[in-house]
């Protein structure tokens, strides 16, 4: 119980600090939303009118407190940048709510692909005595980790989209109009995200498995005559998976926060792309909530990892 209270307090303090830092950052970076909206058509009168309309004429502290009060009441405000119709701006909640499913499904697919491929691959790799296979896997995983994400995105587009014609690049289908088509399109960006993660996870699992294999309990098991297979699957894997879970947690936190580069390359309207454009247009209400969302996700994922650890490893629970 004490553990949970401590975690929740940490969560709240972190969110508060992050929101203040984001607000401060917005005060410091050059450029301002009024200039962004009015562009080169700005006249002093219109600038002033807009500043007043957005409440930007008030001192920063007052603005932050107002914003904070509203957020606590569940009112996330409206975007400075995106219109909903003729005379209303898009509510932040609606805007993010609309983009979130894209990122979440992409995350689910890419983590799914990663786990399905990386775990068997890592085990196979650790268990193999074949020097050649070991070498091939070594090179492949190294390469997959070294390719920059945007290039990988383009590579996947060319291979599956243009050469194999398995999907039409850029023909993103909204989940609202055709869910099947949506998932079909998402598989390819998910592959682009998963490739380096598979490399990393497989390497990680192999190394931790090999480390475990040199432990005392393995020697004991061997001396009792247990088969290598039994040792690997019954004893070693469970221990070797522990650090891998932390690692997977990191990956999940990363993709749920939005894969900025991949979303850009595949023209996916997700959280990552929204964040980039909101920052570049100084759309403060959107940026703040997105940053809080990302912070929240990261903390929660680590928390879940922590709990999982306790479930899987009784030694930690007892401490």
């Amino acid at each position: 119980m004490k553990y949970f209270v401590k975690k929740i307090v940490t969560l709240i303090i972190t969110l508060l600090l992050v929101s203040i830092l984001a607000f401060l950052a917005f005060q410091i970076i050059p450029g301002d939303v009024v200039h962004s909206i009015l562009g080169t058509e700005a006249t002093p009168e219109r600038e002033e009118a807009l500043r007043e309309e957005l409440g930007l004429d008030k001192p920063p502290i007052e603005r932050y407190l107002n914003w904070g009060k509203n957020v606590l009441r569940g009112d996330f405000g409206v975007s400075y940048r995106y219109s909903k119709n003729m005379n209303e701006m898009m509510p932040v909640k609606e805007l993010i709510g609309d983009k979130l499913p894209v990122t979440l499904w992409l995350a689910l697919l890419s983590v799914g692909i990663t786990v399905l491929i990386a775990i068997p691959l890592g085990v196979l790799w650790a268990g193999t005595k074949n020097k050649f296979l070991d070498g091939v896997l070594n090179v492949l995983t190294q390469t997959s980790m070294a390719i920059p994400a945007f290039f990988l995105g383009i590579l996947v587009t060319y291979l599956f989209g243009i050469a194999l014609k398995m999907f039409s690049p850029g023909a993103y289908v909204s989940y609202k109009t055709n869910f099947g088509g949506f998932i079909h399109y998402l598989i390819f960006p998910a592959i682009a995200i998963a490739i380096p993660k598979i490399g990393m996870t497989a390497r990680f699992l192999r190394n931790s498995t090999l480390t475990e294999l040199t432990s005392d309990y393995v020697r004991t098991a061997r001396s009792k005559g247990a088969s290598e297979k039994r040792i690997l699957f019954k004893h070693v894997l469970r221990n070797a998976m522990l650090p891998v879970i932390t690692f997977l947690g990191m990956i999940i936190a990363e993709v749920v926060a939005g894969s900025i580069v991949v979303e850009q390359v595949f023209a996916l309207p997700g959280i990552g792309r929204l964040l980039i454009s909101a920052i570049s247009t100084r759309d403060f209400p959107v940026v703040e909530i997105l940053i809080l969302y990302i912070t929240f996700v990261v903390i929660i994922v680590y928390f879940v990892v922590d709990v999982l650890y306790r479930v899987l490893d009784p030694r930690i629970r007892e401490k």
């Binding site: 200039h35 080169t40 058509e41 700005a42 219109s83 119709n85 383009i154 243009i162 850029g170 454009s277």
Partner: protein
């Protein structure tokens, strides 16, 4: 470019005083539709080295076209939208009393004809009968009054269109006639009546969808994805539009745009880079036309050492615009020296001879020596990094300036930082960027009047201001035209800024589409585009 008809219409109007539109509208509305579009591509003023021609064949009705656009929509309200990228889309949904035509003329839209009183202070608009809004309602005199009052700031005191500030009253004479009274003569005001007519009070109705009278009606907008419009079955120009549906899809990434064009998920995309145009022209139609922008190496006239006219002249001598054209414009751009679209033939003066289009290193060095900088100086060029064209131009310029001893470096900045630091606060030395012109000839010159809030180069010339005052006082376009030429000469003599190119706008169009029209203003007219019958 010769084929570009300039704005005879307004000159004519100014000379003969006083009625408008009857001719041009009759033609565009009455004409056989296929005629409108077939003449389209040839009329578009494509330069000689055009890389493609739209397919010919019979026009068909129906179909959907997906158009890639580079920027997100900044507002769905036609009166407050400021981004050129938004206006080019809204052009399909909204219309004013008059609207721009491909040849630079104005044609009547919601108005059927108009006349101007002899003193130039009262505009009388006769409304076209039977024009319907997308909600099915007929356009009334009240709607027109409301729309103009809103733009002019007569409703709440904030003018949304600054040129319309001079409007003092909008009166309904009868249900098909509206009179607009201004307090000073401005022969260019007629261009401002291209601003949208919207239903009375619609800007204050909560949750109202954008409603206009244009060839397409608004269906939906999704941030970051795009905007969808459908055919306006009641459009007043008979036979238009051809397409049932147009989707404007936001694609910010150059690579993605190329891929999508190749894969056929978008059928039309404009403002191609030279590299894209070269690659795409192998498999699809790539059309070209002079764009409505003027690119320049803008110099802040208020900072050392650029406040010395000799230094600015030296920089202008050092520029090799032909080289920039080759490297950046693919050789298709028009080399310019003044702040006027070359397509506005009646007003443009070719001043390329003043400093030459190639580099004149000796002249530049001599001027620098006279100014006390025999060894050159350091110069920071702040460039918005989201525009590859300007970045590339800046890179070429840096090398050219090096030849005369000026040690220039590029500071790549984000667009928003540019808007704040360079454009609004004027805290910079030099920048490469382009200004978008509109069909109002004086638009690109007005900003260099020393007190203009848009004078971001801090150009201060008494002579210029004097002539500009004459422009404002001039009551005919002819008179204004002469002053505009003078203004351009002063701007060049004072070396206010180093204009470089009017870059060609290259558009990729799917092979089975035809009818795309170029405009001398920044719009993307989809009403004349059609699928060619197989």
């Amino acid at each position: 470019m010769k084929k570009y008809l300039s704005i005879f219409f307004v000159t004519l109007l100014a000379l003969t005083a006083l009625t408008g539109c009857s001719g041009s509208t009759g033609e565009s509305s009455g004409d056989n539709t296929s005629n409108v579009s077939n003449t389209g591509t040839t009329q578009a003023g494509t330069p000689d080295n055009v890389t493609g021609v739209t397919a010919t064949g019979d026009s068909t009705y129906g179909g959907t076209v997906v158009v890639g656009i580079q920027q997100d929509i900044d507002s769905l309200d036609p009166h407050t939208a400021t981004a050129a990228g938004t206006k080019e889309v809204l052009f399909n949904i909204f219309e004013g009393l008059v609207k721009n035509a491909p040849n630079g003329d104005l044609i009547c839209a919601v108005a059927e004809s108009y006349s101007l009183s002899e003193d130039g202070l009262v505009y009388t608009f006769n409304l076209r009968q039977g024009v319907k809004f997308h909600n099915g309602n007929l356009v009334t005199a009240e709607d027109v009054k409301y729309s103009i009052e809103r733009c002019a700031g007569l409703l709440d005191g904030t003018p949304l269109v600054s040129t319309m500030k001079i409007i003092t009253a909008v009166d309904i004479v009868d249900e098909k006639t509206v009179q607009v009274t201004v307090d000073s003569v401005n022969p260019e005001l007629i261009y401002s009546f291209t601003n949208a007519i919207i239903p009375n009070g619609s800007a204050d109705v909560e949750g109202a969808d954008p409603i206009g009278t244009g060839p397409f009606r608004y269906v939906s907008y999704t941030p970051q994805e795009g905007i969808v419009v459908e055919k306006n079955e009641d459009y007043w120009q008979e036979g238009l539009p051809y397409l049932d549906r147009v989707e404007f899809k936001i694609i910010t990434d150059e690579e993605t745009a190329t891929l999508e064009l190749k894969a056929g998920t978008i059928q039309l995309y404009s403002y191609l880079t030279d590299a894209q145009a070269t690659e795409l022209s192998k498999t699809m139609q790539v059309l070209a036309s002079p764009s409505s922008t003027v690119q320049a190496l803008f110099l802040n006239n208020a900072v050392e050492p650029l406040n010395d006219v000799r230094v600015r002249q030296a920089i202008l001598y050092a520029l090799d615009k032909d080289e920039i054209n080759v490297f950046v414009g693919g050789g298709d751009a028009t080399v310019i020296s003044s702040s006027m679209l070359p397509s506005l033939e009646n007003f443009y003066v070719d001043l390329n001879d003043v400093y030459g289009t190639g580099a004149n290193v000796d002249a530049a060095k001599q001027l620098l020596t006279e100014a006390g900088y025999p060894d050159g100086f350091d110069l920071v060029i702040s460039v918005p990094s989201n525009y590859p064209v300007h970045m590339q131009t800046a890179e070429v310029i840096v090398e050219q300036l090096k030849a005369v001893g000026i040690n220039a470096v590029i500071d790549a900045i984000e667009w928003n930082t540019w808007l704040s630091d360079v454009y609004s606060n004027r805290e910079y030395a030099a920048t490469v960027c382009a200004l978008t012109g509109d069909s109002t000839p004086g638009y690109l010159l007005s900003r260099f009047e020393s007190t203009s809030s848009k004078n971001f180069i801090n150009f201060a010339s008494e002579e210029y201001d004097e002539v500009y005052a004459k422009v404002v006082a001039a009551t005919t376009m002819e008179e204004r035209g002469e002053y505009y030429k003078e203004l351009q000469k002063i701007l060049v003599d004072e070396a206010g800024t180093g204009f470089t190119l009017c870059i060609a706008n290259k558009v990729a169009v799917a092979n089975n589409l035809a009818g795309y029209l170029f405009y001398p203003v920044y719009v993307q007219d989809m009403s004349t585009v059609y699928y060619v019958a197989e």
